[in-house]
Structures are given as structure tokens and as C-alpha cells.
Amino acid sequence: MTRTGPLDAAVALTRFGMGARPGEIATVAADPRGWLEAQARPGGAPVPAGAFETSEQRLEAYQDYQAEAARARRMREAPAAAGTAAMAADAPPSAAQEAADARRDSRRNLVQDTAREFLARAQLGAETEAGFAERWALFWANAFTASATKFQAAVFVGQYEREAIRPHVFGRFEDLALAAESHPAMLLYLDQAQSVGPNSPAGERRQAGLNENLAREILELHTVGADGGYTQADVTEFARALTGWSTAAGRRQEEGRGQGRRRAAMLAGEPGENGLTFRAVVHEPGERTVMGRRYPAGGAEQGRAILKDLSNRPETARRLARKIAVHFVADEPPPALVNALERAWTGSGGDLAVVARALIAAPESWAPEARKVKTPYEFVISSHRAMGTRPQRVQPLQQALVQMGQPAFAAPSPEGWPDTAADWAGPDALVKRLNWAKAAGDLAAERDAVAMAQGALGERLGDRSRQFIARAESRAEAVTLFLMSPEFQRR
């Protein structure tokens, strides 16, 4: 296949972007590389449109929920504790029932807000003209997974992507890492907010101690990687350094008088950047050694210094260079591409815009064969783009993604979503894609599927698929065949 502007445009829009909308290939064909490079802007990736709470506002709503949950628990346990008889069945709605209802309502409101944000994010994906910036942002959100499988993280995951990830995806990696690890979503998801230094003032006073979850996953999943050369002792030392990294305390705890007030203020800690609140009262005192480097005692700064060093280690550059190549180009990426990305990373001190430009410049990125199978989210969003539509309601969107194996904001573990064909194109997953493609075909039945396929795939559309689509017995069937074609399932 000869290299043409239109072919490169189709590659740029499908492999690097979220898919092509009608007419987009023609627009981008004039300068596909320039179109991509222009999206690597210092301000980061665009955020979903709509009125959403900041994490400070969200924290208050979350604390209201916690207070309601505590009240409901007290009310439930109170009669039993007092040894009184159970309330009569025909009594008017009890205070306990009201408390339980209030708790359930505020929990539902929190989850619904996150669902609303997911819909806004899907709509951004379906309509954006900066598809590469969107894919790049989603890649980094996945590299720093805070998963809604845990309720506390589900409350903050929308804010997390908007506040911690998107603004930093074309900046320095160390800044992205700091923003991500400091955010309430991550601090709650990986249990950091509860970790207490055993020799801290608070640790000596009560039964509480270290939780090494975040420290381990930073090493293993966010920076140097499992083969990055650290030991269990490094994990524990890093966990000690991170004690005190926490979320802001609620208004209620800051109220109070006299000694209670001073104590509450001490427990509340000091608000810092990126939403991090540092609670000196639980911080493990002393200097720390992590991966052979010594860090003097120093409050929140100690953990920051370790994180910064980890962010800038060569193992981190190597690992993430490969992860980028796997995500964008091939499950087994060409070594030359990985090397080019690694050089760009180390040469720029982890400037992610420079790394993005290296990805765009590498000839291996433009091989015409589509080697990546789309994830369910990519499949659904690119289908909307091909049809020129956008998801209207969150419920069917969520249901489709659950069935295909990629529920909204809910990667199965801190490792994030997997990224190879073997993960996404299993027998049952393909049956579920076909289900969805049939429903989409029925909805788009008045459309010209050949034109739709041409608009979405351009010169990537092969003769065989074109013929199958053209010869379909109905327009609905033609759309389904297009959506299930190998060219559209891959990118």
C-alpha cells in the first residue's frame, strides 16, 4: 500500500484518536502529523463539559454521606444495645428508617454524579476534534488507575480525571505523578488516607499503623515496575514516608472549642497542593532510605522527594515507553519504537509532550496494518463517531460496557485495564460486541452503511469488507457488518 495523505489521516484518526467522524479524514488529510502535534498542548487535554463539583465540594458531600451512614448505624444498633424490645411493626416510619433512607439516598446521589460525569466523558470522546489528546489522557488515567470498584474511589473518580490527570498529560511526568498520588481518589482507593506511622504521635496513642498499599503500587504500577529493582524494605520505607498524606477533614471536625478545637485542628492537618492534606500527627518521624537513596526527615516533602526520584528513574522511562507503544501501536511493539520513546523521555526529563511528539514522529507508528483490537470503550465511542451520533443516556452505555467487559470507570484492579487482543477479543466478548452492533444497526437503519464505513475508515477499508457491506440484505445488517468488520474492530 502506498503512503498517502488520506491513508495517514485514517491511521491518525483511528490509531491515535477516538475514530473518525464523517468528513474528518478529508480535513485531516492535509497534514495528519501536524494535526496530532497541535493537540499536545501545555494546558493538557480538554475536560468533559458540564457543571460538576470540584473535589473540595465533593469531599463535603462525601462527609455528609459518612455522617448519615454513621447516624444510620447508631440508630440501627441503639435499640439492641439498650436491650429494649424491637419497635412495633405498625409504628410510623421510624427515625432509624429515615436515617437509613437518608444514607441510601446520598450514596445514590454520589454514584449518580459519577455516572453523569462518565456520560459527559463519553460525549466528549464522541464529539471532540482533538481525539489524540483524549486517547492520550485516557491512557494516563489508566496508567494511574483509581477504580470505581471501590465506593470511596467511585465518589471522586470524575474529579480525579479532570483535576489530576487531564491538566498534566502534556506536562512533566513527575508533576502528573504527584497530582495523581495526592488526589483524594487515589489516597482513598489505595488506603493511604488511613495509614498511620506507628511512632507518630497518633500512632503511639492508639491502635493504628502502616498501610503499604499505595507505596507498593506506586513502585510497581506507576513508576519503576515490578522488575524495577526494589525490595520489601523499600516498600515499607516508602510507606513510612507517605504517612500523613491524606484527605481534608470535614467541616464538623474543625468545629469545636478550646482544647477540643486545638486537637481537631491538629488532626485536620494542613491543606496543600493538588488536594493533598498533610496530617503531621500521623507522619512517621525520621529519615528514610528508598532504593539506596536517603531522605532526611521532613514531613510531606519527604514523600514528595521520593516520588520525584522514582518518577525520574530510567526504569520508569523504559517501562512507560513500552506501555505507550503497546497501547498505541502493537501488543508486541517494535523495539525501535520503544527505544525512540525512551530516548525522548530521558532526553527531556520526562516531558510528556516531547514523548507524544516522538510517538508521532516514529515511522513504526504509521504502519498501515492495524494491529490493535479496540477496547470496548474505544469500540463504542468510535462507533458513535462513525455514525455521527453521541451517547444520550448513561444507562444503556453502562450496560453495553459491562457486557463487553469494561464497566465505566471500574478497572478490575490498580493495574488498570489490560491492553492486548487476547484481553478484549475473547469468544464471549465478541458475542457481546455483535449484540451491541446489531442493536446499533437497527437504530441506524436509515443510513448508508457504505458511506459510513468509507467516512470512518477511508483507505483502511478493504475490498472484502466493502463488498460485504454493499451486499447486505438490509441497511441494518450492513451497519452491523461494518461495525464488526476486522478493519473497524482493529485500529
Binding site: V196, G405, S413, G426, D428, L430, T480, P486, Q489
Partner: protein, 388 residues
């Protein structure tokens, strides 16, 4: 069976010899007797073995665990008890259909979930040695020239069942029927894409079976027992799957683990109960293995949970199981016996148990187990006392 009936069958077989060849495979399978069924449950996230097969007879248990020590364990022999959320498994234990290794581990000492799950599933001796799963390799190596059918539950095929042997997968919620015109068209359209072609064909075949069994989209989301029964139905009949991989997530209990474990263990108990109920008579030919990537710290951490550890429980259940005692030794929780001063020390390699099950239940010979199914594992003998 009376002689008369036997003769009648022989007679019929003889008279239909000309057209009977198409059924030779099935007849062969019947002649071998009931097909062995194996279900491997991967508990992802590091299951806290000390809360599953609770060593309440160990003098250090209560002190190490503090508030996490399980109360009301269902008493077994040897100083162990099952977590109270496992009443179904307790019934199996009482019937001689449950055994366990109290301190099993993969061959590599790592505390990364993902590295450890890879090793648990790929059956390697070290990190990153195999790209396919041991259960898939076992399908090819099983006795009778293979022919055992593999199936995973869930939209994604887990590593343990990935590999050269073709397998299918299934999850509730399907609508497409295999005989649809569009399915045939796609088979044709995928002629140059063997991955999509093969996987869609197998997915549709399994879906058709599930539809026939009435499991289309009727299953409620939290009906774990129903899921177990639906899987069981996919395992019965001439075309049923023989080897199943099933994942149960959510075991990473770093904080407030008591409540979380109660939920997870109830689910585990119910899904195995569903398999038992759904398999009916086939339960007598079935073995269920539950394994996790590693255990958790012997001591409670500072947040009413536990961190990543080493040894954990490995469960083997099923009607095909022979009654017996502990698999492997109990290392005790004495301070000087803890691995690296913090974890339950493993006394048996998970591969030894897997090899015992594959040899005794699926008829995989020792040479294949040592070289192909678990490469480089010759030193790990299959558990010796005849598991099944």
C-alpha cells in the same frame, strides 16, 4: 445392564455401521465412562487464607490477628475451622468432599498481585516464563487424545486458559443465536482474521448452549448461586465443557477486612454450591480447585486489614475427591516460623496440588506434567496420596 440390552445395542450398532461413523467420537467418549470435570477458581487480589481455613488451634493465631481473628469458625479436624460464611463448603467437608492445603504458594516469592497471578496462571517456574496458561496446556495433554473442552466464565479469557488449545467463554446476557444469518456472514468476512473468526464461532456456540439451557439474559446480577448453576449447565450434555476457569475478584483486603471477606466468602460458597446443585449426578465426576496468588500478612496492619503476604489456603472440593487430611504441613504461626518475619510460610508448591489433580483426575501423565504443563517442575512431585 442386562445381556439382552447389551446385545440389542451391539446389534443396532452393527446394522447401522454404514452411517455410524459420524458418531464414532461420541461413542468413544461414552466408552471411556463419564468425562472428568474440573473447575479452577482463581481468587484474585490475594485471599487471606488465615481467614478461610482458620487455624484457631494455633496458639499464636488469636494474638497475631487481634480484631481480625475469625469468630465462630466451623470446626474441622487438625485445629482448623472454616470461616462461618462457608456453610456449603462445610457440608462438603463433612461428606469427605473438601480438602485443603493450609499453607500453599506459587514457586516465586513476589508480593505483586499481577506478577504473582501471572505465575499462578501460566504455571512457570519463575517470572515471565510462559505466555499461555497451564490449564490450556493441560487440555492438550489430557488423556484420551485430548477432546476435553475448555471454557472460561466472563467476557475476558483469563491467562490460565489462554493458549494453543481452542477454548470458549461465556457470561450472562447474550441475545445472538449461532444460527443467525449475520453470524455466518461474519465467519466469511473474517476469513483473513483467524483470531476474530475462531473466537466468535466458539462464543456463538457456547451462547447457543446457554440459550438452550434457558440462561440467555435472565440471570440477576448478584445471583451467584444462579451463575454457578448456569455454568454447571454448560458443563453437562455431550457437548458440555469439561474444564472451566472462573475468576472471583475482590480479595485485596488492606482495610476493614472482616466485612469484605464475609461478602466474598459468601459469594465463593454460593458459586460452588451452584455448581454442585447444577451438576447433579455429574458432581461425582467433578473436582473444584480454589487458588489465590499469595496470602496476606500474618499480623493485622494498622487499618484493620492485612497487607500482601506469602502462603495462603488452597481448596480442593468435589464429588470425585477422595477423603483425606491436610495437603502439605502446617508451618505454625510461631514468630520464628513466619516467612521474613511477617507471612505464613508456605509448605507446599501450588503446582504439586495442580499436578496431583491433573494426574489423578484428567489422566495427564507425569512426563507431560513435568515438561509441558508445568515446565521445569520435575522436582515438584504431584501430591502423593492420590487426591482423586
Amino acid at each position: 445392564m442386562t445381556d439382552l440390552m447389551m446385545n440389542r445395542r451391539l446389534l443396532l450398532g452393527g446394522s447401522m455401521a454404514g452411517i455410524g461413523l459420524a458418531f464414532a467420537g461420541q461413542a468413544g467418549a461414552q466408552a471411556r465412562g463419564p468425562r472428568p470435570k474440573l473447575v479452577v477458581v482463581v481468587a484474585r487480589g490475594a485471599m487471606d487464607g488465615l481467614s478461610v481455613t482458620v487455624p484457631y488451634g494455633d496458639p499464636n493465631y488469636a494474638a497475631l490477628r487481634g480484631g481480625l481473628a475469625v469468630e465462630g469458625a466451623l470446626e474441622m479436624r487438625d485445629g482448623f475451622g472454616l470461616h462461618p460464611s462457608l456453610p456449603g463448603l462445610k457440608t462438603m467437608y463433612d461428606a469427605g468432599q473438601l480438602r485443603f492445603a493450609p499453607a500453599a504458594a506459587i514457586p516465586v516469592r513476589v508480593r505483586s498481585h499481577f506478577d504473582a497471578q501471572d505465575v499462578l496462571e501460566n504455571g512457570g517456574e519463575g517470572l515471565r516464563e510462559q505466555n499461555d496458561g497451564w490449564l490450556n496446556r493441560a487440555l492438550a495433554a489430557a488423556g484420551g487424545g485430548g477432546g476435553l473442552k475448555g471454557l472460561s466464565v466472563g467476557a475476558q479469557t483469563p491467562l490460565i486458559l489462554r493458549g494453543a488449545a481452542e477454548t470458549s467463554s461465556w457470561a450472562p446476557g447474550g441475545q445472538v443465536k449461532g444460527e443467525d444469518r449475520i453470524a455466518a456472514l461474519l465467519q466469511d468476512l473474517y476469513v483473513d482474521d483467524p483470531l476474530l473468526q475462531g473466537n466468535l464461532a466458539r462464543g456463538l456456540e457456547t451462547e447457543a448452549m446457554a440459550m438452550a439451557a434457558g440462561d440467555g439474559s435472565t440471570l440477576r446480577r448478584n445471583d451467584v448461586n444462579g451463575l454457578g448453576q448456569a455454568v454447571a449447565r454448560l458443563m453437562t450434555g455431550d457437548n458440555g465443557a469439561d474444564v472451566i476457569a472462573l475468576s472471583v475478584d475482590g480479595w485485596d483486603t488492606h482495610a476493614r477486612q472482616n466485612g469484605q471477606l464475609q461478602t466474598r466468602l459468601t459469594g465463593l460458597d454460593q458459586v460452588i454450591g451452584g455448581l454442585h446443585d447444577g451438576l447433579g449426578e455429574q458432581w461425582a465426576n467433578t473436582v473444584v480447585v480454589v487458588a489465590t496468588e499469595f496470602g496476606r500478612t500474618a499480623r493485622a496492619n494498622g487499618t484493620q486489614g492485612t497487607d500482601h503476604g506469602t502462603g495462603s489456603s488452597l481448596l480442593v472440593a468435589g464429588g470425585a475427591l477422595k477423603p483425606g487430611g491436610l495437603i502439605g504441613d502446617w508451618p505454625t504461626l510461631a514468630d520464628n516460623r513466619l516467612f521474613e518475619g511477617r507471612d505464613l510460610a508456605p509448605t507446599i508448591d501450588v503446582r504439586a496440588v495442580f499436578k496431583g489433580v491433573l494426574r489423578d483426575h484428567l489422566g495427564v501423565d507425569r512426563a507431560a506434567l513435568d515438561s509441558r504443563v508445568f515446565p521445569g517442575s520435575a522436582a515438584e512431585a504431584p501430591t502423593l496420596d492420590g487426591l482423586v
